[in-house]
Amino acid sequence: MEIKEKKPLEKVCIICAKGNLEDVYASLVMANGAVMEGIETNLFFTFFGLEGITKKSMNHLHTATTGNPAMKMPGGLPFPTMLGGLPGVESAVSSMMRKQMDELGMPPVDEFLEMITAGNGAIYACKLAVDMFKLTKADLSDEVTDIITIGEFYELCDGDRTQIIFT
């Protein structure tokens, strides 16, 4: 017998483990999108992903200008890796990218985190990574609910309509 009943997602648990501009935004867009759909959302930052919730760095994230084959010059020509390695280039390219995102109505990271918690999404930091980078709760965005272990994270992932997404 064919089963036609739809089983919509009830919960997503998103893991952000990288600190590049695009990686952090991928997690933020997916988390906020889930909150907007009424899906219970947990967003877990670990390793270099912590850059995205550290007060000092979160609004100045960079994209890699070396070792990034998808990087293009304005106009579409390939971006030479040698050029990407020059001092200041990564910074300039990243700030240009953030500006373009702003023009599309994408909020800066701090505001994005607020949007997620405004809809009852929860944001967590990984204890192991926080210890490793010698950070404290005070270094992290006020929107961070708690610093938790991976075991506690898995406890948050209960439910048979839950998905874990690793970006």
Binding site: V29, M36, E37, P107, M115, A118, G119
Partner: protein
């Protein structure tokens, strides 16, 4: 397709969004609200709906961020008014198309 909402026959898409804003009235908003588990539609709800309709008429892409900056409600209040679908449910109640925004 046609659907009778609050005693009035209106054109809707497959998701139940009105396809012709001119057929909209406040009773329709209240009725759709009930379907979406919003049992009490307040003046604040209508302020948001009116704002959305104006933005739609001006061809402005809707985002919750935009509504949050409208001066009517902040994002937290928007979620409180339209739980589980701040933009989706409010657009449905406002009689405008399902939002295409990702933010």
């Amino acid at each position: 397709m046609e659907k009778v909402i609050a005693g009035k026959s209106v054109d809707v898409d497959t998701n139940g969004y009105l396809t012709d804003l001119s057929q909209w009235n406040k009773d329709i908003a209240i009725e759709i609200g009930k379907e979406e588990n919003i049992n009490e539609v307040t003046d604040k709800h209508f302020e948001v709906l009116t704002y959305l309709q104006e933005q739609h008429k001006n061809d402005v892409a809707l985002t919750i961020r935009g509504v949050g900056k409208s001066g009517i409600v902040d994002i937290k209040q928007l979620y409180a008014l339209f739980p589980k679908g701040p933009l989706k449910i409010s657009s449905k109640m406002a009689g405008i198309p399902r939002p295409k925004s990702c933010i």
